[in-house]
Symmetry: C2
Subunit: 315 residues, 2 copies
């Protein structure tokens, strides 16, 4: 493990950077990457970001003004990538070649020459903001937008328990640096596609409650997604819905991926362990949010999950 | 108009306080009132809050540990009450008798002997936090919870354009004072009753779009509310739904109050003026959020609103 200052010194000593994001890139990995890219270019370095998958329209503002730079890369940086498996399709080219990894997750198997991990940070963008200050370049308006997007998307707009006083103060500072906080919040948290509205409504129509309404289960099928006309990004956050129901302690979302194959998301509250439920099916995750995959019929899958959920509720 | 310091000196010179909240009391008026009540009691004063309507369950924590104090009141304070009409049922007893009013709205017709207004504050709770510091008493955990609730509820959990760097820094400070920010956020923003889920779904089923999907209209009828089993608080925020749809600039919610009588909420974005639409029907409000009342059949009401909305869109 290295200090953030060591990472800063390393970056300043190198050039020709590629910055990698994790697969299914979200606001934090993208915000971290484009903010760092902008800072390195301000230092006079060459840098580009590799978006590891589809760049959602709502994140396009992060790079719409960045000129393309063609160069042979020399230095590889990974941001918000806790494990080498999250490199996905980039593994073949970059696994084993990462020079520095900067993350806010605890890394069980560090994979880079230099590693900075800070699990106290709500978003990796917090680490990047501090890193850019250490590098000593100005944080301009666009860079502030990128960092703010990381902060707000990884905290549910400052709602989740990972938020610290530092998160709030950094957001204040970014606002003073000119970031479009209200617009970013509206785009990230207050805008739903018609398809999203349809799939939410359809999913809630499948709601089943167990154990005195402490366990809530919803599902989405391929047919429901087709009827609603959803793209992948339209179903982000659907897994949060069942746990939001008043009194629910365990919220389970069953998503059909292929016929007979389901992806499961479990969200819990009140100290009930989501990861233990998912481990019973070979999955895992955090205490309040975990996932797994189960094959079978919908009824079988639901019954297995409810059985494990009941154990977690009593345990 | 007075300075906050003048208000602080006035409070310190008096005793036997009643603190008034506005009708249909929300998190900010209640948080302001209970925080101030606690601070005055810490000063050794007698103080109580008059809840101007029903105290929703989710706000009960603000006063569950406060002992009742019986006394003849001498000093009347109004918090988050921009106009004497918002006193509602308390008007008869208190209109003309308010000693100090503390608000974050601009007051067109000040009604108290001492008035502090600060429209830069996102929530009135910001003013109360500063006031308590001027009074010089400790902000304990419960007081911090009350102030934080005011901040987060009036800003949509730090999402709206009224949030300033000061709002974020105050939230950071309240977290350091021990407030249960994550729990409060979950209760205020991440918990829905089953009735709320049903009425949202029913309302979205009435969605009608106009002007190339730039105007969205939903309605709720008394029958729909009955079928969903809603209480008044279950419909808070329903008016935000149509404007959240991707591409929508004007979102209109028509709520049946009695047969042939409708309450209208208009929410806009991209600089379109909601208040101008509502003024056409004798209502008013802010640029992005306004309201009015219209009588007629549902179809008449909808047609009138869409006609005005089209004008606002072009204007």
């Amino acid at each position: 493990m290295n200090s953030l200052n060591e990472i800063a010194c390393f970056l300043m000593s190198r050039d020709n950077f590629v910055i990698l994001t994790h697969q299914y890139p979200d606001g934090d990995t993208l915000g971290s990457a484009f903010a760092l890219c902008r800072a390195l270019r301000k230092l006079g370095k060459k840098a580009r970001v590799i978006v590891n998958g589809v760049l959602a329209d709502k994140f396009a503002f992060m790079c719409d003004d960045l000129e393309e730079q063609c160069f042979d890369y020399e230095t590889v940086i990974a941001v918000d990538i806790a494990s080498v498996t999250l490199l996905g399709d980039l593994s073949e080219e970059f696994a084993g070649r990462v020079d520095a990894a900067i993350d806010h997750h605890a890394m069980n198997s560090p994979f880079a020459k230099y590693t900075y991990e800070n699990p106290q940070a709500a978003a990796n963008a917090e680490n990047i903001f501090e890193l850019i200050k250490l590098i000593g370049v100005e944080v301009d308006k666009k860079t502030a937008d990128c960092i703010y997007t990381g902060l707000c998307t990884d905290t549910g707009c400052f709602k989740f328990s990972n938020v610290t006083p530092q998160t709030m103060r950094m957001a204040a500072e970014l606002m003073e640096l000119g970031c479009d906080s209200a617009l970013i919040n509206r785009v990230m948290f207050d805008t739903k596609s018609m398809a999203r509205i349809r799939i939410e409504s359809a999913a809630l129509n499948t709601l089943a409650m167990y154990c005195n309404n402490k366990i809530a289960v919803i599902y989405t099928s391929l047919q429901m997604e087709k009827d609603a006309g959803v793209r992948e990004s339209d179903t982000d956050g659907i897994a949060a819905l069942p746990r939001q129901i008043e009194g629910v302690i365990i919220g389970i979302t069953i998503k059909e991926k292929q016929a007979g194959k389901y992806k499961i998301s479990v969200r819990t509250t009140d100290g009930c362990d989501a990861a233990s439920i998912c481990r019973a099916f070979g999955g895992g995750g955090h205490h309040a949010a975990a996932g797994c995959a189960i094959d079978g019929t919908l009824e079988e899958v639901r019954e297995k999950l409810v059985t494990e959920a009941k154990k977690a509720l009593c345990g």
